[in-house]
């Protein structure tokens, strides 16, 4: 790979609406990968279905556009087979907290080393602006004929409850800060969530650029903010402070790293208990034949079934 000319952005035309927060997100992703020096063929972006899920189409790294709600399992499968890859997920709030919520929760329990970029725009963009799981109760966007009668789910709290070991929040138009957060998420060993507040100027006229920018602030600018759990006994306290921050919304919205648990083993650490060599010789790397011939003998393995 010629390092100078490495391109992370594809020459495909980005077909998002003008003013969409996704432009900021994709730029931050590009910058993060570039700064981390991850070659495009060693990175994969796994997209859901939605405006957010189109990211892989516009990037020049490996791209796997999946089904609505299913990028998490696909990304997990990729990482399990080939852990050397940097695996990102670009998914909407509908993808992750609506149709794919079971996978969102399960991802926290597994703690596979993947980075979930949650494009949190409060609406179902690609289907004309219906309320997404993060839109507040009784909010009526212009796209809705009536106010939303469902309460929102809090992605930070759900992630915390599900066992995510890295939880952060970014803002789509603060590309530089977002890039730093994404870099930290990628570098974290374990499942990382970045909840990205993403204005959708077309359908969400409530959570607008102006609305967010009046409220957001960065936690790392606060004195004494330390979200990192270094020892198991710190967990409870750190979770409590994360919960408090996660509950801030109407007046002020905190951005940055809200929680990071360095004590919980990543999935391959867990797998190694079962298959000691699995991280060194992961599934994709394992030979399965010698010159097209199987390399096992049934009676040698399944001795428990022998009758002799």
């Amino acid at each position: 790979m010629a390092s100078e000319k490495v391109r992370y952005m594809a020459d495909t035309w980005k077909d998002w609406c003008p003013g969409c927060g996704n432009y900021g997100i994709i730029t931050a992703v590009e910058m993060a990968l570039k700064e981390l020096g991850i070659p495009p063929h060693k990175a994969v972006d796994v997209g859901g279905i939605g405006c957010s899920g189109k990211l892989p189409e516009f990037l020049a790294i490996n791209g796997v556009h999946t089904l609505h709600g299913r990028p998490i399992p696909v990304a997990t499968g990729i990482k399990l087979a080939r852990p050397e890859l940097t695996v990102l997920i670009s998914a909407g709030d509908g993808d992750t907290l609506g149709i794919g919520a079971a996978h969102f929760v399960a991802a926290g329990r597994r703690n596979v080393d993947i980075t979930l970029l949650l494009h949190d725009n409060g609406v179902y963009g690609l289907t004309k602006g219906q309320a997404s799981p993060t839109l507040g109760l009784f909010i009526k966007t212009k796209a809705l004929s009536k106010p939303n009668i469902n309460s929102p789910v809090n992605p930070i709290l759900l992630a915390l409850a599900s066992g995510y070991t890295f939880i952060a929040r970014g803002y789509a138009y603060h590309v530089k800060q977002l890039k730093e957060i994404i870099k930290a998420a990628i570098q974290h060993k374990g499942t990382a969530l970045v909840d990205i507040l993403q204005p959708c100027p077309t359908y969400n006229n409530v959570y607008t650029k102006e609305w967010y920018e009046q409220r957001i602030y960065y936690l790392d600018e606060e004195e004494n903010w330390n979200p990192v759990v270094e020892k198991p006994e710190e967990l409870e306290k750190k979770m409590e402070q994360t919960i408090a921050k996660a509950l801030e919304w109407e007046e002020r919205i905190p951005l940055g790293i809200l929680f990071q648990d360095k004590t919980k083993p990543e999935y391959f650490e867990r797998l190694k208990i079962r298959i000691p060599f699995i991280e060194d010789i992961p599934p994709y790397k394992q030979p399965i034949d010698v010159n097209g011939k199987p390399i096992v003998d049934v009676a040698q393995i399944f001795v428990d079934k022998l009758v002799i």
């Binding site: 399965i288 040698q300 022998l306």
Partner: protein, 641 residues
């Protein structure tokens, strides 16, 4: 020729599983082929369950009734199986006075039918009444004082005997085995084999067996059969295993190079994944180890949050270069529908092992069926071909599991491997599979791919070379796409891309040999042809033999591959016959419909079964004769509890 059925029944969890497992080993040690069908309810503990063990010299592939011997370890078994008795009924004298109405675990419908029959024969609704009825019918009823034999066992064992269920089962089974002339030493060996390493369990069970044999010798010598001859496989040259269908598929997958298996627990599929999990870190053969400089292989087995995740995760693993599969049954595969189409459009190699059980919906989770054929063929939206193969027995299942992995990669497609509860749960003896003829074929893989990579390049045979994520930059999308995997809706390109995907299946249809798709058993010139698939095979092979002995020449067309379907060959065979009878385990005669769809041939007679029980040999024989005699278009089978 020995063709024996040994049936043993009792409460679920009450030791029947161990007893059946030991009995299978006994008959194997005695030199026979065995086939053990398990039946049980969707219940953890306490409802009725049983093992039907078929024992033959050459081929044991299907259950049969009547049973030479029925061992009933409780009253419910007596009431449930007295009509299965061919020669012996072994029962516990301690439950003679038990009234059928006092058995709460028993189905009220079965109770009503049994009472009606007992009434018609003028005997009371008790175990005693049933025994009297069997006596009247000339059956040999063998009462065993379980408690007193148990007491003797405990005294002799000299340990606190708390594995009561197992000891009881051993006693019942031992009495049964002694009645049909099987030597005690085989049972002793079988106990040691089955409880290998658990000396605490082995000893009391061996003593229980001895006590039972002594008792039988003293008390039943007049009705004892003479010594059972040894079967042809007393000292087999090759190692012999006893495996369930789930086990054998797991073995096939390991031999076939599977490296990632995902699953969400479901009956009757979960045991396959559990067995894979047990052997997720396995040894390579010494020769391979030397060549590769690697001692062991490893399979990552992931229990996912649901079946949707299971298939999607397997797809992800396959894109990154691992052979990947998932395993499920009806409800799970229904959830996989969308991901199946995804694998289809992104041409991801993935195997879905689909164990059929009684549907629709939750249906009859622990019972057999062949009712997911249409689902396997047509599930998922869009023009979505796939490869669908159905195995007819354990051996087929082993090689099919390997072939499925090959085909998935070779044709870059989801492969649905159909099995049934009847095979999944049946225990079968098996000679150590011969892998010399087995080939691992990963298809077209580009090892030095350019960046970016035209993953969906148009080719002559429709198959584009594949590159793994991480070896280059590859793009996949669930949308229609161009040769680079970029979303594309251009009408001209759309035709090309859709045609390319379809072309692969034409290639597969040409390349996959006929013997992997369909087999004609018996006299190719027979005028009567049975058409079946899956577990019908076992019953059909026996049936055509029995019918031949009775002077009726019948052959059996065993369908294995449903997509791509061997239309021409099937049509030619069916058109040659004067009478064609479809045999299958579902209510819609799904395979018959598929045959008509692909060949235009309408199968005129159907023998179908959808009670959730497997097809027993004798009922198939009888129903074929019935069709031949009456010309009936449809016979619905119902034998078995």
């Amino acid at each position: 020729m020995v063709d024996l059925v040994f049936e043993i029944g009792g409460p679920q969890g009450g030791g029947i599983e161990s007893a059946g497992q030991m009995a299978l080993r006994v008959f194997m040690l005695k030199g026979y082929r065995v086939y053990g069908t398990r039946e049980y309810h969707s219940n953890i503990i306490g409802k009725h369950s049983y093992f039907n063990i078929r024992v033959r010299e050459d081929r044991a592939l299907a259950p049969n009734l009547p049973a030479d011997i029925v061992v009933s370890l409780d009253a419910e078994s007596v009431f449930t199986h007295f009509n299965d008795v061919g020669e012996f009924m072994v029962y516990d004298t301690g439950v003679l006075s038990k009234d059928i109405d006092s058995i709460q675990s028993m189905s009220k419908y079965l109770k009503a039918r049994v009472k009606e029959e007992l009434d018609a024969n003028g005997v009371p609704h008790t175990v005693d009444g049933v025994i009297k009825l069997l006596d009247k019918r000339g059956k040999k009823t063998v009462g065993v004082p379980l408690r007193s034999l148990l007491k003797t066992t405990a005294e002799r064992a000299g340990v606190s005997l708390v594995s009561i269920s197992r000891a009881i089962n051993t006693i019942g089974m031992a009495v049964g085995l002694s009645l049909i002339g099987v030597e005690l030493e085989h049972l002793e060996k079988a106990i040691e084999l089955f409880f290998a390493g658990k000396q605490k369990i082995v000893k009391p069970n061996v003593i229980a067996a001895q006590v039972a044999y002594e008792y039988a010798k003293e008390n039943f010598s007049s009705i004892h059969r003479k010594k059972m001859p040894d079967g042809p496989h007393v000292n087999p040259v090759k190692p012999r295993l006893v495996v369930s269908g789930n086990d054998i598929v797991a073995m096939g997958k390991i031999a076939g190079g599977l490296r990632v298996q995902t699953y969400y627990p479901i009956t009757p599929a979960a045991d396959e994944s559990l067995y894979l999990e047990k052997f997720e870190d396995f040894p390579l053969t010494p020769e391979a180890a030397e060549k590769l400089g690697l001692e062991r292989g490893g399979i990552v087995v992931v229990q996912t949050e649901d079946e949707i995740s299971a298939l999607n995760m397997a797809i992800g693993a396959s894109l990154a270069g691992a052979r990947a599969a998932t395993s499920t049954s009806g409800p799970g595969v229904s959830l996989m529908a969308e991901a199946l189409g995804y694998a289809g459009i992104i041409e991801a190699p993935v195997v879905i092992t689909l164990y059929m059980r009684g549907g629709p919906s939750t249906g009859m989770p622990t019972r057999n069926s062949q009712s997911d054929l249409l689902t396997a063929l047509f599930q998922g939206h869009g023009d979505l071909p796939r490869i669908v193969i159905a195995s007819g027995d354990h051996e087929e299942a082993f090689y099919d599991a390997i072939k499925a992995l090959n085909w998935a990669e070779k044709y870059q497609t989801p492969v649905i491997h159909l099995l049934e509860k009847a095979i999944a749960n049946a225990m079968k003896d098996l000679f150590n599979p011969d892998l010399s003829s087995v080939v691992i074929d990963r298809g077209k893989i580009e090892r030095n791919p350019p960046i970016p990579f035209p993953r969906f390049k148009y080719t002559e045979d429709g198959i584009s070379p594949r590159a793994f994520l991480g070896d280059t930059v590859v793009w996949y999308t669930s949308n229609e796409h161009d040769q680079y995997g970029r979303r594309n809706e251009d009408p001209v390109e759309r035709i090309k891309m859709q045609d390319k995907r379809l072309k692969k299946f034409e290639t597969a249809a040409k390349e996959i040999p006929l013997e992997d798709k369909v087999t004609l058993y018996g006299d190719p010139d027979a005028k009567i042809t049975l058409v079946g698939w899956g577990s019908v095979k076992g019953a059909a092979l026996d049936a055509i033999e029995i019918l031949k002995e009775e002077g009726i020449n019948v052959n059996y067309l065993h369908l294995r591959m449903f997509m791509p379907f061997p239309s021409e060959y099937v049509r030619s065979v069916l058109e040659k016959a004067t009478t064609v009878i479809g045999v299958e385990g579902n209510a819609l005669a799904q395979a018959a419909q598929v045959v008509r769809m692909f060949t235009g041939f309408e199968i005129p007679h159907l023998i179908i079964k959808y009670t959730g029980r497997p097809i027993f040999v004798q009922e198939l024989v009888d129903s074929v004769k019935h069709v031949l005699n009456t010309g009936d278009k449809k016979v619905v089978l119902s034998l078995g509890q």
